[in-house]
């Protein structure tokens, strides 16, 4: 699994995660992801290239969202309607973290 981050216009940081967001993958991205969450205020996390998600991955997402919120920022997720989205919904994450199916919708939410 890998993670990349790009600063976009409007102070938005786009974090792209790729691969299997399972225990093994989550351990790899946890520290760099927390660092971004600590430093940035508006974060869009793109899960379009994540093909698998398990509870440890959800934990990493939730911790990052909590860090950003504690700094008065916001974190939103882009995830197409697939099994990864089903895991997020089953875990109740859709009630805690805004999840959008397209990047355009996520960007619009962060810009407003």
């Amino acid at each position: 699994m890998d993670i990349s981050a790009d600063d976009l216009a409007g102070g938005i940081t786009k974090v792209v995660l790729r691969g299997r967001f399972d225990t093994t993958g989550a351990v790899v991205v946890e520290l760099p992801f927390n660092k971004i969450a600590t430093e940035k205020q508006k974060i869009v996390v793109d899960l379009s290239a994540v093909n698998f998600l398990a509870s440890y991955g959800i934990r990493v997402l939730l911790v990052a969202a909590k860090i950003v919120k504690s700094n008065s920022g916001s974190l939103v997720v882009v995830c197409p309607d697939n099994n990864v989205a089903k895991v997020l919904k089953t875990a109740g994450m859709d009630a805690l973290i805004p999840i959008y199916q397209t990047e355009a919708a996520a960007m619009a939410a962060l810009a407003s």
Partner: protein
């Protein structure tokens, strides 16, 4: 470590080590590559990852052996997980309490809830000092024709 016990079943023995989860994932992928729908394959991957990660993280040092078996039975895929760790019945674990806000949300305790949601059945028994968990996954087509 993969031994075919009969034509439709496959067994994998894992050590009590978090690095083994990667080997588990590769093995499941191999088993489900043919004759399994993408949704059932995903569900099997998810539930076995959660079950085995729980044993590795909470089963204690006694959990020296974790054996996983997958078997296809017509439209149903049956997964059996056996370990000699601390007694733990995931079917009796309480469900998560929905959080009212991000601040209140508890981190963790989602694995068993995901297993309950993505498997079509989950049975537990403690026998001969071992935990035995059986998970069933029904192919959507098989479910609708039953």
């Amino acid at each position: 470590m993969i031994a075919m016990s009969n034509a439709g079943a496959s067994r994998l023995v894992l050590r009590n080590d978090v690095a083994e989860l990667e080997r588990l994932a590769g093995w499941i992928e191999g088993f489900t590559r043919q004759g399994t729908s993408p949704d059932v394959s995903f569900a099997v991957q998810l539930c076995l990852e959660e079950a085995v990660a729980n044993i590795i993280m909470y089963g204690g040092a006694d959990a020296s052996v974790i054996a996983v078996e997958l078997e296809r039975n017509y439209g149903t895929l049956v997964a059996r997980i056996e370990d000699n760790g601390r007694q733990f019945d995931p079917t009796r674990a309480p469900g998560p309490v929905p959080a009212a806000s991000l601040d209140e949300a508890k981190v963790g305790d989602l694995g068993i809830h995901l297993m309950r949601s993505f498997a079509n059945g989950m049975d537990y028994e403690r026998r001969d000092g071992r935990n035995r968990l059986t998970l069933r996954f029904v192919e959507p087509l098989a479910a609708s024709s039953e």
